[in-house]
Symmetry: C2
C-alpha cells in the first residue's frame, strides 16, 4: 500500500437496492483509482460476499462491522449522543478521528446525517449548520450547484450569503470553475423582485466578495449563465426534485411518440431515452454534498446504484485533489 | 347576432410578438365558436388591419380604442385610481360593467393586472387577493392546476387553504374533474415534513371540506396523483418556471442526440421535439388564470401566439359553460 493512500469512509446502510450494491460501487472505484483506499462500515456478511469476488489488494480495504443501523423512520436526533454502534455514527466518527480518511459517503437517513454531520463530524469555523449542495448537469455537460437542497428549511439572509460562499468554493474545487458565477433563485430577475428573504439576501450578496450576478429564475437554472444557485432549503428542495419530475415526464413523452411511430424499440429512441435519463436522473450524479463540515460528506440518493457510488467518489477525489493542490501552493 | 352571444374582453397590449397576433388569435376563436363575441381593446390601426382580412360578422366584434398602454416597466399600482384610458383599465372596467361580458384576457404587466383585478374588477366575497393558477399538462394529457404561481409571495396558512378551495373549484369547472384531489407542495410527503407555513396549512387542509391527499413533492407534480397543487406564490412561481426550464433542456438533449446520430432533420426527431414543446412550453396552454375575481381573468404569457389566445379563450368558455350548467341545475 502506498504511503499516500487516502481513504474514503463508506456507510453502506440505507440504499433501496441494498448494501451490496454500495460495496460493489466502492470496489469499482478502487479498481479505477489505484491510490484510493476505503473503510467500509456495515454488515459483515454482505461485505464478505461482495469482497470475495474482488481482486483489490486487501490492504486497500478496511472493514468495520456495525451492530446497529439507522432506519429512515428513525428520528434524526437519534444520532445525537446515541446509536454509537450504528453504521452511520461509526462512519462519521471514523472520518473525524482518522487523518488518512478524507471524506465519507452514506445513502442513509438524510436528517440523521444532517444532525450527525454537526454533532459527530463537526463544522468548519463560522458555519452554523451544514448545507446540502446538489450538482446538476446542464444540457452542454457543464454543472450548476444548487444549494441548500433541504438541510435548512428556514433561513436568514445571512444564511443565504453563507451558502453562496460555500457553493462558490465547492464549484471551484469540485468542477475547477474559477470565480464561479452565483445567482439567487427568485421569482424575477430584477433586484426588487423576490420574497422578503431573498430581497434582504440580495443586498448582502451584492456587497459580498463573490461573483454575484443577481437574481435568477428557475428558467435559468440550466441555462449555463451561472455555476452556483442559492436558495433556502425548502425552495431548493422543490427546485431540485422538479428537475427529476420534468425529466421523467419528458422521457414518457419520448416513449409515447416512439410507440405512436411504431419505433419504440429502435436504437434511436433508446439512445434519446438514455441521454435524457443520464441528464435528468440525478441519481447518476450520486447525491448531495454536505458543505461546511470539517471534511466532505455526501448523502447518496436512496436508490443509489454502483454507478452512483463511483460518481460520488470521483467527485470527492476531485475536491480532495484541488484542496491538496491549493495547500501546496 | 344571437341573443345569447357572450363576449370575451381582450386587452391586446403587452405581447412580445405585438398586438396583431392577439387580435388574430381572437378571430380564430370566433371562427370556431359561432356563439362567442369579443370586445377588443387596443390600437385602432392594428385592429383595422387585422379585422380587414376577416369574415367574422361585424356585430360579433366590438372595438374600444385605448389612448394609453401600461408598460411592463410601469409600477403595478399605477392602475389604482389612474391610467383610466389605458387598454388594461378599459378592459377591466368593461368586464366589470357589462353583463354580456363573461371573462377577460390580457398579455400585459402581471403586477398591474393583479392590482387591477382587485381595484377595477373586484373580488368574490371572502377572497382577500386573487390567486394565479396555471394549468400544466401531464404526460398522459391530463391536467394539474398549480396555484399560487406568483400573485402572493408571502402567504398565511389560511391563504393556502383558500387557494385549495379556489383551485379545486377551478379544476372542476375548467377540466370537468369531479372532486379533484388536492396536494400541498412540500419537501417530503410525510405530514411532519415542511416549512412552518406548510405544516400549519396541512392542519387546516386536513379538516377542510376538499379532497386533500396530503403533502406532495415536486417529483409528484406531473405524476397524475393530484389535480390541484397548492403553494405560496414564491414557491409556486419557482415550480412553474422549472417545468419550462427542464422541458427546454430536454429538447436540447433530443436535438444533440439527433445531431450525433445524423438524423437531426428526420420526421421522427421533429415529432419528438414537437410533442415535447407541446407538453412543456406552457405558452401553448395560454397563461395563468386569476381566481377569486368576480369574473375570470387570464394573464396570457408575454410571448403569446395566436394559438395561445385561442387556447385561453377555450379554457374560459369551458368555465363559463360549467358555471351556466350549474346555475341551471
Amino acid at each position: 500500500m502506498s504511503q499516500s493512500t487516502r481513504k474514503i469512509v463508506v456507510d453502506t446502510y440505507g440504499a433501496d437496492l441494498g448494501e451490496e450494491i454500495i460495496v460493489r460501487g466502492v470496489l469499482t472505484a478502487l479498481e479505477e483509482y489505484p491510490r484510493l483506499g476505503a473503510v467500509i462500515v456495515g454488515s459483515r456478511e454482505v461485505f464478505n460476499k461482495a469482497i470475495g469476488e474482488s481482486n483489490i489488494e486487501k490492504d486497500r480495504i478496511e472493514f468495520i462491522e456495525a451492530e446497529d443501523f439507522i432506519l429512515s423512520t428513525d428520528a434524526p436526533t437519534c444520532v445525537f449522543g446515541g446509536r454509537d454502534k450504528s453504521s452511520m455514527v461509526l462512519a462519521l466518527n471514523t472520518l473525524k478521528q482518522r487523518e488518512d480518511c478524507f471524506a465519507a459517503l452514506s445513502p442513509g437517513n438524510t436528517g440523521a446525517l444532517f444532525v450527525g454531520s454537526m454533532c459527530r463530524l463537526g463544522l468548519r469555523k463560522g458555519v452554523k449548520a451544514p448545507v446540502l449542495s446538489a450538482a446538476i448537469p446542464t444540457p452542454h455537460d457543464k454543472w450548476v450547484c444548487l444549494l441548500d437542497c433541504g438541510a435548512s428549511l428556514s433561513c436568514t439572509p445571512a444564511d443565504l450569503e453563507k451558502f453562496a460562499f460555500l457553493g462558490a468554493e465547492f464549484a471551484e474545487l469540485a468542477f475547477g470553475i474559477p470565480n464561479p458565477r452565483v445567482g439567487l433563485l427568485s421569482n424575477g430577475r430584477e433586484e426588487n423582485k423576490g420574497s422578503e428573504l431573498t430581497k434582504a439576501a440580495y443586498t448582502l450578496l451584492k456587497k459580498a466578495d463573490i461573483n454575484f450576478i443577481g437574481n435568477i429564475e428557475s428558467y435559468d437554472l440550466l441555462s449555463e449563465e451561472v455555476e452556483v444557485v442559492v436558495a433556502d432549503g425548502f425552495t431548493g428542495n422543490i427546485m431540485l426534485k422538479s428537475v427529476e419530475a420534468v425529466g421523467s415526464a419528458a422521457i414518457k413523452v419520448v416513449e409515447r411518440v416512439g410507440r405512436e411511430l411504431g419505433i419504440e424499440n429502435s436504437p434511436e429512441i433508446e439512445k434519446i431515452i438514455d441521454a435524457m435519463s443520464h441528464k435528468f436522473d440525478l441519481n447518476i450524479y450520486g447525491g448531495a454534498t454536505f458543505l461546511g463540515t470539517v471534511k466532505p460528506l455526501v448523502k447518496m440518493h436512496g436508490c443509489s446504484t454502483e454507478a452512483t457510488v463511483k460518481s460520488c467518489i470521483e467527485q470527492l477525489i476531485r475536491v480532495e485533489n484541488a484542496v491538496n493542490q491549493n495547500s501546496q501552493q
